[in-house]
């Protein structure tokens, strides 16, 4: 039983770990942090498996965990930066939140970087559904589960996001 569970976890980890890592890295822009969040995501998934929790879609479940952990990380980082800024009166050490670190820039080449920059320019309600649909190939139902919206709403966001992306990139997307 225990062996089956481990095997199941390992197979899911093998398939999804890169996608989760990528998802984290493109949002936190730091390799170490992305690795930490990926590890935490899979740790929680592993604990859920051990507790016999009912999981309908492993993929959507793992992405949901990662999505929430990233939100938590941003919240923590924001409060830390504010403390830092208050400590230092002239604010010279203050780091811009969304600035890509050196490691982040090295990860992708010109087209990839351009694409992710443009996706990040989109409103957040379009940004995540669009990324999950086209980069991670998730279905609208899985995206709906991660974002906590209806399937219909997820599809609408994907389509509208696509139109917005076409406007700002000039790509002819079908």
């Amino acid at each position: 039983m225990e062996m089956d569970l481990t095997k199941k976890f390992e197979s899911v980890y093998e398939i999804e770990s890169d996608a989760i890592f990528r998802f984290c890295l493109l949002r936190v822009s730091n390799r170490e942090t992305a690795l930490d969040i990926t590890q935490e995501t899979f740790l929680r998934f592993w604990q859920s498996l051990q507790k016999d929790k009912e999981i309908l879609s492993n993929r959507a479940f793992i992405f949901t965990i990662a999505h929430r952990l990233i939100i938590d990380w941003y919240r923590k980082k924001k409060s830390l930066s504010l403390d830092k800024m208050l400590d230092n009166e002239d604010g010279a050490d203050y780091e811009v939140e969304d600035q890509m670190s050196t490691e982040g820039k090295l990860e992708s080449s010109a087209e990839g970087r351009f694409l992710i920059e443009k996706i990040n320019e989109l409103p957040s309600s379009y940004r995540h559904p669009l990324y999950l649909r086209f980069v991670e190939d998730l279905s609208p139902s899985e995206i709906a589960e991660i974002m906590g919206v209806s399937i219909n709403a997820a599809s609408v966001r994907i389509n509208r996001g696509l139109i917005e992306l076409r406007k700002i990139t000039g790509y002819e997307i079908q």
Partner: protein, 361 residues
């Protein structure tokens, strides 16, 4: 061309991966670090537990939980039934329990009876508090408002009862004369208690002054304060008397009764006067036997008033003014009922002492 650029961008993004060593490291740390979750061992007695019962049958939720709520709520309501105006549960009694009771009564006559009883209950509560020396100004105001509300509700119910059923007139008359008698009698009882308390307080403050030699000015101030409170105390009995008058005014609106009804009513009142007279006789003889005191003057006055009102009714009837005659008859009935209430209450003795003290003075 541009579409290819998009695909190329996506492919480049997809090429972002963990290194195999990172993958290994993360996997091994997850499998090592996570402590094995031990499932709790089920007790053999669990199937008999209350929670197990809830888990087995969800329907129990819908029965037991509302039952608990009803029982605990019912407990509070039950406990509030005997609460007094200065108690915590008193608002539950006057704002929930009594209105609900009233809402469940559909006949207007019964509703009028209910309101009359509630008004009586308010005065008894005031008497209980006054006797314990706990009737303060705010409580008195509270009771005053409630008493006025009950009187208004009673008047409305009496009006509706007559419209609803013309045959219920005799019953509504009874309710209204009873109410007037109760209000006047309890107003008098309340006055007796208030005077007694006032007397006690005066004696108390005099003793205190003698013992402690307090400054004269302070004494005057204390006396004045107490007088103000006493003066305020009279308000409730005044409200009770005015409530009785309100119901009396309501009676005036009634149409002229036929001769037969008048005779029946008169016979009833005469019987009542005779039995009350006997009761008074008993009181006089008992009084003479034990301590040779004079009988209650005020109660006797009310008794005589009842008699004279009856005579007046007869006179008016002979003159042909049947409306006024019937009115005087109702006044007489109310007065004689008031005498009965006073005789039955234990406060008559107090009044006896009062009267005797006045005579001695």
């Amino acid at each position: 061309m541009k579409y290819n650029k998009l695909q190329k961008g996506i492919d480049e993004l997809k090429s972002i991966k963990m290194t195999s060593s990172e993958k290994e490291l993360v996997l091994s740390s997850i499998l090592k670090s996570s402590p094995k979750i031990v499932k709790p061992i089920k007790s053999t007695w669990v199937s008999f537990s209350f929670m197990a019962l809830l888990e087995r049958n969800r329907l129990v939720y819908y029965i037991i939980i509302p039952l608990i709520i009803v029982l605990s709520g019912g407990g509070v309501v039950f406990a509030s039934a005997d609460s007094l105006p200065n108690g915590i549960l008193y608002p539950v009694k006057v704002k929930i329990l009594e209105p609900v009771e009233g809402a469940l009564i559909f006949s207007q006559t019964a509703k009028a009876k209910h309101e009359s009883n509630l008004a009586k209950r308010r005065l008894i509560e005031a008497e209980t508090l006054a006797e314990a020396g706990k009737l303060d100004i705010s409580t008195e105001d509270k009771i005053n408002i409630l008493l006025e509300n009950h009187t208004n509700a009673l008047n409305k119910a009496l009006d509706k009862a007559v419209v609803e059923d013309i045959n219920s007139k005799n019953e509504t008359e009874d309710i209204s004369t009873n109410f007037r008698a109760e209000m006047n009698a309890h107003a008098r009882i309340l006055d007796i208690i208030t005077k007694k308390e006032e007397h006690k307080n005066e004696n108390g403050s005099q003793n205190e002054n003698q013992n402690q030699n307090i400054d004269i000015n302070t004494n005057i101030q204390i006396k004045q304060d107490k007088k103000e409170e006493v003066a305020k105390d009279g308000e409730l009995s005044n409200t009770a008397r005015s409530s009785a008058e309100k119901v009396k005014d309501n009676d005036k609106q009634q149409e002229v009764k036929s001769g037969e009804v008048y005779v029946q009513k008169k016979d009833k009142i005469e019987n009542l006067i005779n039995t009350t007279d006997k009761k008074l006789e008993v009181h006089i003889t008992e009084d003479k036997k034990f301590n040779n005191r004079k009988v209650i003057v005020n109660t006797s006055k009310t008794f005589n008033k009842a008699k004279s009102e009856l005579e007046e009714a007869d006179k008016k009837n002979r003159e042909g003014d049947s409306k006024e005659a019937y009115k005087a008859l109702l006044d007489s009935e109310s007065s004689i009922k008031e005498v009965n209430i006073l005789l039955e209450s234990h406060y008559e003795n107090e009044e006896k002492h009062e009267e005797e003290n006045h005579n001695d003075d």
